[in-house]
């Protein structure tokens, strides 16, 4: 079964395979394929976190936790989706877990961001590219009250044991960060380490909650030790600023990025 899965994966992504290995023999590379490969590489380079100076592969170590913090409606999900697209472009499997939206709505987020990318970077082959990377995504939605780590583990086991999907990155959107959550986060950490997965969380912050003296927002305080990377989105006038709070050296190593709120993509201008 697993073997069959791998063969199919190769078939689905074959367009971009031929020139990936530098040791492969000299062969004809079709212009179209090369364009396709270049396009992928270009889009990967434009990833917001990479532009902020996070260099680790996937921006997190295996088993690592990352948090995208923002107030409601600022663009956490859109940011998560860009991280997901980045992994998918690198042919890494992303499991997107949403506790707030149905599958269809999550799918629409992706379509919207992909459309924006296609418009902003004038990508003509987006349809083909999208079809090639789609198999690297799996959406799972739960009701907040029924979500639990053992349940998630059971679902992941369902997927991996049958060779359906092997998640390498997990995005969790809508998980409440409150006092009771500490236990679940420890269990999740164990799960992430067992499966060598990187986990990104969308964390909602609130106006009335004061951050800690070191700038760490309130929801993350109890569990900050479990997180390797934390990034905050802050609306500033008509722009959204992306600030690094934790990870990859000191925060001053990372420039602040500016997102365009209409597309949630990076503006070329950087704030220093």
């Amino acid at each position: 079964m697993r073997h069959k899965y791998i063969v199919e994966q190769v078939e689905r992504t074959e367009l971009v395979k031929p020139i990936e290995s530098p040791s492969s023999r000299a062969k004809v590379v079709y212009l179209k394929d090369r364009n396709f490969y270049m396009l992928k590489k270009d889009l990967i380079l434009r990833n917001p976190l990479r532009l902020m100076g996070y260099q680790t592969e996937g921006f997190l170590p295996k088993g690592g936790f990352g948090a995208i913090l923002a107030r409601a409606g600022v663009g956490k999900t859109a940011f998560l989706v860009q991280l997901a697209l980045n992994s998918m472009l690198e042919s890494k499997n992303v499991l997107h877990i949403s506790l707030c939206d149905p599958v269809k709505k999550v799918g629409l987020w992706y379509e919207e961001i992909v459309r924006n990318i296609a418009n902003q970077y004038n990508v003509r082959q987006m349809d083909q590219l999208w079809e090639a990377i789609l198999p690297h995504r799996f959406i799972m939605t739960f009701k907040v009250e029924s979500f639990s780590v053992p349940k998630l583990e059971e679902r992941i086991a369902d997927l991996t044991e049958q060779g359906i999907f092997f998640p390498q990155t997990i995005l969790i959107d809508g998980l409440p960060f409150d006092e009771t959550a500490r236990g679940s986060f420890s269990d999740l950490k164990t799960l992430a380490k067992d499966y060598s997965m990187r986990v990104w969380f969308a964390v909602r912050t609130h106006r009335h909650q004061k951050p800690a003296p070191d700038g760490m927002p309130a929801p993350l305080l109890d569990v900050a030790d479990l997180f390797e990377v934390a990034v905050e989105l802050q609306p500033e006038g008509k722009e959204i600023h992306v600030r690094a709070l934790k990870g990859g050296g000191t925060p001053s190593d990372h420039p602040v990025l500016v997102l365009d709120p209409s597309t949630m993509l990076i503006k070329d201008k950087r704030v220093t």
Binding site: Y5, E11, K32, K104, D127, F138, T141, D158, I164, F165
Partner: protein, 693 residues
């Protein structure tokens, strides 16, 4: 005919098989005086219920076979509409469901929420139809209506609340306590037609008070007035009914009634509930699409004075020709008026307007918004919208997807042959996604549609409704060919061996396009190809598209540009350039890296959570891309994109993987390139077929 829209109810009755839908319908018609005697489903001859069901249906010709039956209760007009439940992905079901404003969900007090109840409930949810529940068969041993209420909450996620409690259960069941009026209702007389209203028996009083409290609690969530009244202990009947109605209309609450249709108990209070709690056409917001404005949704108002918009939702062959059931959504239909069939643009005059009774019809002159009736002698297809001249609103999308699967059918004998053609003529009219053609090669009649089940249902209907037995071939998937790169062609057609000569040269290029299936562009300058022969080139190209050179599948998504050529003053003719275009096409096509595309379906499986793994496994074996899984409490929804070619026999596979507890829907999603391995297999199979022929 009255014209009081708030007193009209268009409802459906849905149930699990054998939950008592027929018996309930029968009793409703009896109490509303539409029929004058009750005939039981289970006759004295002891034949099984299913058989009786069919016989009764045929013999009496009442509701079940007719699309809409009309009855009256307490000055309200109730239209009971037949809701087909067997297929859940065809256009026809959608239409039947959209003419409903509300529904009664019938459940068996012993069996509870069964698989079919889940199916019908999901359909109702999809079309946002408000419903009330009726727990039937409270006289049966093992009856427990409160367990059914719990199941409604757990299995279907309804906010179900008892409106009544039973007076005795099983053999001792003899009436209900109404929790709104706080009275006991007994059903006297041979057929339970006399209602005796008394005080609640002592032994049930505390339970009744407790349940009423629960009812007020739930209903007050949706009404501030009721909350205030409850706090001051001044809840009136009207206030309570209004709050329950408000919540029911928004599908926030499901009031549960109980009784035994067979024992003639509990039907009249249910009818009261239909009039009190279910919506009138005015309460339901309907949307039409403006076909003149890129199908933008437009909200209709039930105002009888506005320009008319009506939907033909069902056709019936009667002795006097086609009977077209229509529901008026806006404006008024009147006899002698001219209306436009929005799909065809044809104007038609309404010759005869009727409203249906059990098995006779009554001629009427006008039919205002919200009403259901029938038109005589109007040629149309099911799902057509009729509107006042100058209005381009349609109730259903005008976009009809191309069929993705086909099946050859052969009538078993002469008699069947005649009936088959009758049946096919009717089905194609009813369902625009169902098509019929005769294959040029084999001479077989081929039917095509949107999925295996879709075609299976029609083959079954031919057998049942038209007594036409057919044998079917293997289903065929509608593959397509297309090219992937740009390729040039420069072809000269020359024939000068005897007779009139033929000469033509066509040069240009072809490339893939997503704009349309076929785009032709003429960039010839300087008269290299005479203008009058350009159309011959296009014709020649078009002819090549029906059967692609690679696998003989239709070619789509191709743009052909001609930019040069040559002609001869005597030998160049229409035919010569058609042949030259054909040659040019073949030349270019071979270089343009043709590939095969296959239809990919969007498959949605709804399964109990415990079978989630098994279902995903079954989909994965079928080359599916699983888009996601959605956890919905006890149920789970799995969404996937699966090639149609892999979906044959999936209903059986799914049944066996989930003990019959899962169900799936499937609709066409897109065309996608066939993986190399499969394409090679297809080529091989095609070669074998050719050799065999």
């Amino acid at each position: 005919m009255k014209n009081e829209i708030h007193k009209v109810r268009n409802i459906g009755i849905s149930a699990h098989i054998d939950a008592g839908k027929t018996t309930l319908t029968e009793r409703i018609l009896y109490y509303t005086r539409r029929i004058h005697a009750i005939h039981d489903v289970k006759g004295k001859d002891g034949i099984g219920a299913a058989m009786d069901f069919m016989e009764l249906e045929r013999e009496r010709g009442i509701t079940i076979t007719s699309a809409a039956t009309h009855c009256e209760w307490q000055d309200h007009e109730i239209n009971i509409i037949d809701t087909p439940g067997h297929v859940d992905f065809t256009i026809e079901v959608e239409r039947s469901l959209r003419v409903l404003d509300g529904a009664i969900l019938v459940l068996c007090s012993v069996g509870g929420v069964q698989s079919q109840s889940i199916t019908v409930d999901q359909q109702m949810a999809r079309y946002k139809v408000p419903c009330i529940a009726f727990v039937n068969k409270c006289d049966r041993s093992g009856a427990n209506p409160f367990r059914v209420i719990e199941q409604l909450k757990d299995k279907l996620g309804h906010n179900a609340v008892a409106m009544q409690i039973p007076l005795g259960l099983e053999a001792g069941f003899n009436g209900v306590v109404d929790l709104v009026t706080m009275k006991a209702i007994y059903f006297d007389g041979e057929n339970g037609e006399h209602l005796r209203i008394e005080d609640i028996p002592e032994n049930l009083l505390s339970e009744a008070l407790e349940r009423r409290e629960e009812l007020i609690d739930v209903a007050s969530m949706f009404s501030d007035e009721l909350t205030e009244a409850a706090l001051e202990d001044e809840v009136t009947e009207d206030l309570l009914i209004q709050a329950i109605r408000k919540a029911t209309l928004r599908r926030d609450m499901t009031p549960v009634f109980m009784g035994s249709a067979y024992k003639n108990k509990g039907i009249q209070p249910l009818l009261n509930a239909v009039t009190n709690l279910l919506p009138c056409p005015f309460d339901v917001e309907t949307e039409a699409l403006d076909s003149g404005n890129d199908e933008t949704p437009v909200t209709l108002s039930s105002d009888p004075e506005k320009p008319v918009v009506a939907l033909a939702f069902k056709l019936e062959d009667g002795p006097y020709g086609q009977l077209t059931y229509v529901r008026v959504y806006q404006g008024t239909l009147s006899k002698g008026e001219t209306i436009v069939n929005v799909r065809t643009g044809k104007k038609v005059k309404i010759g005869r307007l009727v409203r249906m009774h059990a098995h006779q019809m009554e001629d009427i002159l006008v039919m205002p918004a919200g009403y259901i009736g029938a038109l005589f002698g109007i040629e149309c297809a099911s799902g057509d919208t009729f509107a006042a001249p100058g209005i381009s609103l349609t109730m259903t999308s005008m976009h009809v997807p191309d069929p993705v699967i086909s099946l050859a059918i052969v009538p078993k004998d002469n008699k069947a042959e005649v009936n088959v053609s009758k049946a096919l003529a009717r089905f194609t009219k009813e369902d625009p996604t169902f098509k019929v053609y005769v294959s040029d090669e084999t001479g077989d009649t081929v039917i095509s549609g949107m999925g295996e089940l879709h075609l299976e249902v029609y083959v079954e209907r031919m057998r049942r409704e038209y007594d036409a037995d057919v044998t079917t071939g293997m289903p065929q998937v509608a593959y397509r060919e297309t090219i992937t790169t740009r390729a040039e062609f420069n072809y000269t057609h020359k024939k000068q061996t005897g007779g009139a000569g033929q000469f033509g040269r066509v040069a240009g290029y072809m490339e893939a396009t997503t704009e349309d299936d076929f785009v032709f562009e003429n960039k010839v300058v300087g008269g290299a190809i005479p203008t009058q022969l350009i159309s011959a080139c296009e014709k020649g190209f078009r002819k090549c598209l029906t059967k692609g050179p690679k696998m003989e599948f239709p070619v789509t998504g191709i743009k052909l540009v001609i930019n040069d050529g040559a002609s001869h003053s005597v030998d160049s003719s229409d035919m010569a350039f058609q042949a030259a275009a054909r040659g040019a096409f073949l030349e270019g096509y071979a270089k343009a890296k043709p590939v095969i595309h296959e239809p990919v379906m969007k498959v949605v499986v709804e399964t109990p959570t415990e079978f989630q793994g098994a279902v995903m496994g079954s989909l994965n074996q079928r080359r599916a891309i699983i888009v996601g899984t959605q956890d919905e409490g006890p149920m789970c929804i799995i969404e996937a994109q699966v090639p149609l070619a892999e979906m044959f026999g999936y209903s059986t596979a799914l049944r066996s993987a989930t003990q019959g507890k899962a169900q799936f829907t499937m609709e066409f999603f897109t065309y996608r390139q066939v993986p190399k391995g499969i394409a090679e297999e297809l080529v091989k199979r095609k070669a074998e077929e050719k050799n065999a022929a």
